[in-house]
Amino acid sequence: MSVPSHPVSLRRGLLTPGVAVLSCIALTGLVVAVYRFVFGLGAVTNLTNQYPWGLWIGVDVASGVALAAGGFTSAAVAHVFHRRKYEVLVRPALLTAMLGYTFAVIGLMADLGRYYNIWHPLLPSMWQGNSVLFEVAMCVTIYLNVLYIEFMPIVCERFIGRVGLPGPLRLLNGPIDVMLRIARGTLSKIMFLFIAGGVVLSCMHQSSLGSLLLIAPYKMSPLWYTPIMPLMFLLSAFAAGFAMVVFESLLASWTFGRKPEMPVLFAYSRFVAVFLGVYGVARISDLMIREAWGAAFAGDAASYMFLAEIGLGIALPLAMLFSTRVRRTPAGLLTASSLVVFGVLLNRINVFLVAFKPPYAKAPYFPSVPEILVTVGLVAGLVLAYRVCVTVFPVLPVEEHATDEAAETVQQRCPVQAESYVS
């Protein structure tokens, strides 16, 4: 068995032009968000009594969660089924998932009218088990914590023996080090429980996000409304999860001027093809069984969005992924995986915003500029946080042809990494 290369902290400064641009975008979003909290949802959004859910729910929350599915899919492959060659993909995927869910919750806070009551579903006196949203809320809350726990070993690895708080805080260095060691020791024994639990929780809330709109049978377009929406959401989350990992890995290699992990990604992209294929077949058969095809050619906005989703988001990448030649090239793989990600993003937008046709609406919903600024700002913030995390923590795998210095760093930093992760 070939031992995967150990991840190291990215040895690069944070003060780059890219980071500066991202910071500006994120700050703009933050300013708009502050405005929203001071003046209310009505002051910044285009939401109405007919369209209570807009861009923030459709993209920041629903799409964010779908695109963060890479965390549990890659953990399942590498740690449940022990395909060790994919180990290199786990940490970046885990980081993306952790940040993705964190930002989804931040986005949700902006959308909730009474955001300070966000903890209410945790109170047993308020539990309402009939609500699909209740189950989603519970699963996401628990899973977010599971993700933080799954990330803990990486924190331990980075700081054990190297906790260097300055000034009077120095006194804490010793105790923190001991705590980190205890955490590492405990977690290495029980981590498999969290990983299995994370997979279960993910399957539950990814599918339940699809059940949310089952409650609006009289408002939804037949192109998307089907009793098996939860299954569709689960399958597409699998496809998106695998595709995101490929997409992200290639993107990170390109941004940081590293060599893409082509052999691993080539093999890994099979999973994308398989799940996307199953998802595609499910979508098409469902439409045929319900005889809802007619609406696809109605020539209205919904029909174009539907055709774009199926054509660009499922059929095209599927064709690409079935060609070994395409999958062997970084460009081909990047195109195909980004199309899959785009397709699932489009699906969530379609289900939550396009398919939802409430009665008595005067005009269809379209997001306002401030809404878009907040969403774009959140994405920028997420990318920034990712950048900071890969600089601080050993997440990205070391280059194959690493310099001696880097190789040395690996040696001292990660003596037991791969083993400590799953006992």
């Binding site: 068995m1 909290f37 209310g40 009505g42 002051a43 959004t45 939401l47 009594n49 007919q50 209570p52 859910w53 399942a76 740690h79 449940v80 089924f81 022990h82 959308d111 909730l112 009218g113 009474r114 955001y115 009551n117 966000i118 209410h120 579903p121 308020m126 539990w127 309402q128 009939n130 609500s131 699909v132 949203l133 189950e135 809320a137 498999f192 429980l193 990983i195 299995a196 639990g197 997979v199 279960v200 539950m204 599918s207 339940s208 059940s211 949310l212 709109l213 089952l214 409650i215 609006a216 049978p217 009289y218 408002k219 009793p227 939860p230 939802f356 409430p358 009665p359 008595y360 799953v422």
Partner: protein, 295 residues
Amino acid sequence: MENSTFDRRQFLCRAGAVGLAGLSLAQPALAATDIAEGYGVLVDTTECIGCRKCEYACAKSNELSDLPLEGFEDRSVFNEPRRMTADAYTVVNRYDDTAHPERPTFIKVQCMHCLKPACASACLVGALRPQSNGAVTYDPWKCMGCRYCMVACPFQVPAYEYDHALTPKVSKCSFCFERVSKGGKAPACVDICPPMCLTFAKRSELLTLAREKVKAHPEQYLDHVYGEHELGGTSWLYLTSRPVTELGLMEFGEKPIPEYTEPLQHGIFKHGVPPMLLFGLLAVATKTFHHKEDE
């Protein structure tokens, strides 16, 4: 809620006025058994004159606006059908009749107080609840402001206080819950309604009354009580002379909305067994594959 305080006189005097006082439905005996059965309102759209007094009474009683009665006398609002807003739990609309241009239909709309409310099934913290007296009530202190109830309501009733930054509420007709269950009065809108348009009583009694009306004046009514079976039934019921779709209401099947999600939800997650099973399988898989690899 125990509603022995509901005003029966209200109903009796109205029923009497339409000459139905002698019917068994008007017998005042409030048996212990019918406490479980909720109240409702029958809206007879053929009687509505579009005076908008109910809008005024509702706004005043629920402290939604301090506009005086004259503020509600503007009839130009009828040019466009309106919907409920954060400041109006109920609105009256006018629908012209091409066959009888001199006799347009006026119709009051508000929350239907569904017997199987979609909003309450959707609400994750139980802020919306069906009460045993027929009302579906809202508790702003529990509410998170997720607005899933607004997505769920098939009648597109709840509105939102988007302009309140700190304590926005979902706003919808409360069936005057406090006033009715504690104050022993009829809802404010019913109390003020001058003609025989709104009748407040036990739902079963209203259904009987509605049938009597249709039987007595088949030329005046369609033989359909809107809300009797729609989506599992609603506490507010409508009698019309024209198809409801001409009056801004939607047609619905009989299947209650919660039945589109609840069986699935409980089926997949029954007593947490399927998730636990999957968890067990995965944990076992983790160990098995790991050992295989070691060999």
